[in-house]
């Protein structure tokens, strides 16, 4: 089924996609002329497949559950923000805060992602085939941020238990973020993600970064302060 955003209202399209008739066999949708509209495909909750042909604005596919959303273009701030499950593919570049606070699912960006990619992520897998901007994975709690290109300043600042993998160069690491051993467990984890997403890439080419656990853990030395 095809929708044209130059003819139909965004709220009507979103409402339709958010309330799919589960008895219907129509599971594939296309959206033409997105023209940078915000919140396209936000709040989808069924196992459907949506292709957006063109560039989108903020919060595209935000809060996604189960759906697979492909953007044949660039996306604005906060693509797949707070995603719970499902898949979001971006064929172009992404603006800042891609995958912010995401709980689950996979976000794959073919181009570059801007600043604060994966900020406060909580279980999502974010794969960026290009590079990421500064302060990516800021306060990231859970999940994997996998970067094929380079990372700008302060990668993983104040990170909790999320894992970061970078193939290229890291300009600088943020507070409490350190390089860690690329152990067997991490290699297997990456293998599994790449297999699921049909990505042919050797996990051994990546370096792993994570929390030094000095910032967020309670230190017995501070007991006197309370």
């Amino acid at each position: 089924m095809n929708f044209d955003l130059s003819k139909k209202k965004l709220t009507d399209i979103n409402k339709y996609l958010q309330n799919i008739d589960r008895k219907s066999n129509v599971r594939k949708f296309k959206i033409e002329n997105p023209s940078g509209h915000h919140a396209i495909c936000a709040g989808l909750k069924d196992d459907i497949d949506v292709t957006i042909n063109g560039h989108t604005g903020y919060y595209c596919a935000g809060m996604n559950q189960k759906a697979s959303v492909t953007v044949n273009g660039n996306v604005g701030t906060g693509v797949a923000e707070n995603m719970m499950s499902g898949k979001v593919f971006v064929k172009g570049n992404a603006s800042q805060s891609a995958g912010a606070t995401g709980h689950g699912g996979n976000l794959v960006i073919e181009g570059d992602a801007s600043s604060r990619c994966g900020i406060s992520m909580k279980g999502i897998n974010i794969i960026v085939k290009g590079s990421v901007g500064h302060m990516s994975a800021f306060m990231a709690q859970k999940g994997n941020l996998i970067i094929f290109g380079d990372a700008d300043e302060d990668l993983g600042d104040s990170i909790y238990e999320a894992k970061i993998f970078v193939k290229g160069k890291v300009k600088s690491l943020g507070a409490d973020c350190v390089e860690k051993k690329m152990d067997e467990k991490s290699i297997n984890e990456l293998k599994k993600i790449f297999k699921e997403l049909n990505i042919s890439e050797n996990p051994k080419n990546f370096k792993r970064y994570g929390s030094a656990r000095k910032l967020y853990n309670f230190k017995i030395d501070n007991a006197g302060a309370y």
């Binding site: 023209s35 940078g36 509209h37 915000h38 063109g54 560039h55 989108t56 604005g57 903020y58 273009g73 660039n74 604005g76 701030t77 172009g92 570049n93 603006s95 800042q96 570059d112 801007s114 600043s115 901007g133 500064h134 700008d152």
Partner: protein, 292 residues
């Protein structure tokens, strides 16, 4: 919030459509700044004449003509709603002095050999219509839609700010050290017409350029000297430059084709531009000066 836009034509192909493009960009950014709007559009330089963009406020164009003709003889005036573009051979120093001292009812919003500036309160969609922006041709232009924060909704509080010949600035964000910077610049002889923070940034840029710095170096130095959050687009006769603060608090997106470079707060501002779907689209990095 505020919205900023800019478009620079790399080829002559769309010169006649520049006003139409910029008008659409401002229209689409009305949601980010419904209080006032303004734009600067750069047309072909007239080597002999200066152009003065003047807001008449409540003075009629006939009364303005009567008053100004006492001092300057050869002038050409085109009226656009409550603004006029006055063209004359007379030099800025004399003209500005006369207008500031003898015709206090009006205000000069900008001047130069190629710049035309218009700004007014009201919804951007209405502002671009009343100044007939779509009818302009030119080489580049920048614009602003304002959601007022630190100063009142007035013409003086609207962007762009022009503080020197053919220069102007639009700004999304707010500065925290503008009072200090203003004091320093006043000591150096820079004049200010409002309490607005962006006017200080415009004055800062003009002052640095007058000291012999180029636009790129000037903006680079502002990273050190202007504190706050911002995305700036600074226009000059030859083009414009873009700078985001080092934290990248405020949004910006660039679309580049072989014919033009467009900058805006959001992509939807440029969704109507020709071939934008095949343009190179990217988010400018924080703390890096981009110029065209």
């Amino acid at each position: 919030m505020c919205g900023i836009v800019g478009i620079y034509l790399k080829t002559k192909k769309y010169e006649k459509s520049l006003g139409k493009f910029l008008s659409g960009m401002l229209d689409n950014m009305a949601t980010r700044g419904p209080d006032s709007a303004g734009f600067a559009i750069y047309t072909k330089e007239n080597k002999n004449n200066f152009k003065y963009s003047i807001c008449l406020n409540n003075l009629s164009v006939q009364d303005f003509k009567k008053k100004i003709s006492k001092y300057f003889k050869k002038i050409k005036i085109i009226k656009y709603s409550d603004h006029i573009i006055m063209e004359t051979k007379d030099k800025p120093k004399e003209v500005i002095k006369v207008i500031d001292e003898k015709i206090k009812e009006v205000s000069i919003v900008g001047y130069g050999k190629s710049i035309n500036i218009f700004k007014q309160t009201g919804n951007p969609k209405d502002v671009v219509k009343k100044f007939k922006l779509s009818s302009f041709s030119g080489t580049h232009g920048i614009g602003h839609t304002r959601m007022a924060t630190e100063s009142a909704i007035t013409t003086e509080g609207s962007h762009p700010y022009s503080t020197a010949e053919d220069e102007c600035l639009v700004h999304n964000g707010s500065l925290s050290n503008h009072n200090n910077v203003r004091r320093d610049l006043i000591k150096k002889g820079q004049e200010f017409k409002s309490e607005n923070d962006t006017e200080v940034a415009a004055g800062y840029i003009s002052n640095k350029i007058s000291e012999g710095n180029n636009l790129k170096n000037t903006l680079t130095s502002s990273l050190k000297n202007l504190d706050g959050f911002y995305t700036f687009i600074a226009g000059t006769k030859d083009g414009f430059a873009l700078l985001r603060d080092e934290i990248a608090c405020k949004p910006a997106v660039v679309a580049e084709t072989k014919d033009y470079v467009a900058v805006a707060s959001e992509f939807q501002a440029m969704a109507h531009l020709p071939n934008v779907n095949s343009a190179k689209i990217f988010e400018p990095k924080p703390g890096v000066v981009y110029n065209w």
